[in-house]
Symmetry: C2
Amino acid sequence: MGFWERVEAAMQVTGSALCVGLDPDPARIPGGAGGALRHCLEVVAQTQDVACCYKPNVAFWEQYGPDGMAALLELRRRIPRQAPVVLDAKRGDVGHTMRAYARALFERFEADAVTASPYLGGDALRELTAYADRGVYVLCRTSNPGAADLQDLDAGGRPLYLRVAELAERVNERGNVGLVVGATAPDQIADLRAVTDLPFLVPGVGAQGGDLERALSACAGGRRGSCLVSISREILYADQPGRAAAEFAARIRGVLAAA
Amino acid sequence: MGFWERVEAAMQVTGSALCVGLDPDPARIPGGAGGALRHCLEVVAQTQDVACCYKPNVAFWEQYGPDGMAALLELRRRIPRQAPVVLDAKRGDVGHTMRAYARALFERFEADAVTASPYLGGDALRELTAYADRGVYVLCRTSNPGAADLQDLDAGGRPLYLRVAELAERVNERGNVGLVVGATAPDQIADLRAVTDLPFLVPGVGAQGGDLERALSACAGGRRGSCLVSISREILYADQPGRAAAEFAARIRGVLAAA
């Protein structure tokens, strides 16, 4: 079963397109890597009925050093198998190095999908897409203020992020490629949806200020599993993570039903 | 002492601009992460007289899982302090995530410098450059075949890689930024040197087919520490790593002296 089929199955079971980000902050969670693991496992337990999938960002685990990577592996293995795991790694390197990252993320850390940077081009991305049963979300238009510095540059008559979407389509020979599009850029999301029906992973709602309703409306119309909304801090540090996740899931469901 | 001063000091002691890549391949080195660590420590011991600095690529350590990250930390701590360590990580993420990567790479793994992806823009890069005593090499024109897919696109009258060089100059407020330019693209290196005197880190010689002499001649003329040439497999798997490193160091010295 391919990644999108697993996402669809999880969407059907949970009735949700919510992806819960698992990004522990040592300033907010005591106990080092072990504390981060316990906290995130508790969040998984409280949200699994309403979360379609989970997205640990590797940075937040790397910051604890080797113990953090051991905790990440343990976390991944304890997330229920019916919930796909997107490892948010944003890796991008030359081909033979990208093969090592693919082994790390898909084989060692057993990711169902990863995020990847497009800057190195198609040969680098193809080392990831070669894993036909895994998903690869290519960074396209990100949610941060600096996104415009390169991504919005005019590149031969259209903005670079649209050229990245074309590159993503080219490396989609196995049908396992999606795009990362930030909720802070609904106009760019609409531009992208006009030229591609690749599935979108949408971070940037909440702490980063993205408008969930505008962004999500712009996403509509893609392929199956075509829109996952990622929320991290607003769930991870909520007084009641389960309730916060349920509320986000309901809002997402409402927008997608209306779109 | 800043990163470039440490590079210059190491260049003076060793008479070398050679950066030895420490990228273990489990298919060529037996014994898992422990074997990789032993092999790389032996290469360090044999090359330290002629290597200006060392560059472990994180991918090759991540592929061993958490044990690999523990081995990378041990490796970093056992590289003699006079040799700067560039952690080749090519990270690029939104600001608050980039802060976690900065903590991971600069604080946990004690990198003297890192490589970073420009795709997320200036705010992301500034989370790294904020560490004033560390170096940040921004990916600019890479050595792989797919580099041309995005990096050579015309972006408002000049290729994207030149726009990346401009971005790198903008985030160089603390004077700790360099560029990664692949030896396989000597013409692009020359274009870059015509518009910037940022230091270059040059991979892609050897297995990737770059022409050392042409590439290095094109690099000449930058600031201090302005050109480090990175060689990995041709030293790591040589019958005599010390001799292979000495030969590369001498070739690099010859070209730089003539330039």
